[in-house]
Amino acid sequence: MQFDIIEKGQYTVIQINEARFDAKLAPSFREELENIKGNIRDHLVLDLSHVRFMDSSGLGAVMGAYKMLRNTKISIVNPQKSILDLLKLTRMDKLILSHPTIESALAATA
């Protein structure tokens, strides 16, 4: 499974089970999001624990989720350094906050 969807109270967690979130994976992510968007809760948490590499296509897919889910808070969890660097470089860290764990992401809005 490329993605695991976990429902937790007011939160939906999408765990990305791929090492590379890139132009190859981005269309599948968008499709998955389209399939579940009606059921996504108040806070969408993207768990990137397994993602070693992200490019502009992966980042674009995350930003596409941000645009699609206008009234949903979106957080990134456990990004590796290269992904944090990418968010900072592109300044998208100003819009989408990162947290070390799912619990800390959820606690930030509890």
Partner: protein, 153 residues
């Protein structure tokens, strides 16, 4: 001075950037290039290979492109991506030279999805880059200080 050179020809596809990265990252590791530099140049390479597929070859699979990489005499990591497709317009290059990432604003959707994000990343991470066209061959050439470990290269 290290005279080893990586050179390989690939076929355009959505998967191609993964194949290139899987081949070239071990080569850079063997050269002793710093991990941070490898991470940054892997990202640049992926962006440019995707750019070749999407723009030079208009998302058509099976067209050939070449990747070369080596350390030059001043220990700069040099990467060349050559295609034989559509040439990048002078306007695109001018726009890129003047472009920078803008800070997104939560209540301004026009700031969320920025154009040419991949090329802007390359511009930010490479020390220098140039784009040349000779006959039917377009080449994007990047240079980056390699931070080679002692005893390597």
């Amino acid at each position: 001075m290290n005279t080893r050179t990586f050179h390989k020809q690939y076929s355009s596809s959505l998967d191609a950037s993964r194949l290139v990265a899987a081949d070239i990252v071990p080569f850079w590791q063997q050269l002793g290039v710093a991990v941070t530099t490898i991470d940054q140049m892997e990202l640049c390479l992926v962006e440019l290979v995707n750019n070749v597929f999407e723009h030079a070859y208009a998302n058509n699979e099976g067209s050939l492109f070449d990747i070369s990489s080596y350390l030059n005499a001043t220990k700069q990591l040099t990467i060349e991506i050559s295609d034989y497709g559509n040439t990048m317009t002078p306007q695109t290059l001018t726009d890129l030279a003047n472009a920078d990432f803008i800070e997104p604003v939560a209540d301004d959707p026009s700031t969320w999805l920025q154009s040419s994000r991949g090329l802007k990343i390359v511009k930010q991470l490479a020390d220098t880059f140039e784009y040349t066209t000779t006959a039917n061959k377009n080449t994007f050439r990047l240079l980056k200080e390699a931070s080679v470990a002692n005893g390597k290269a």
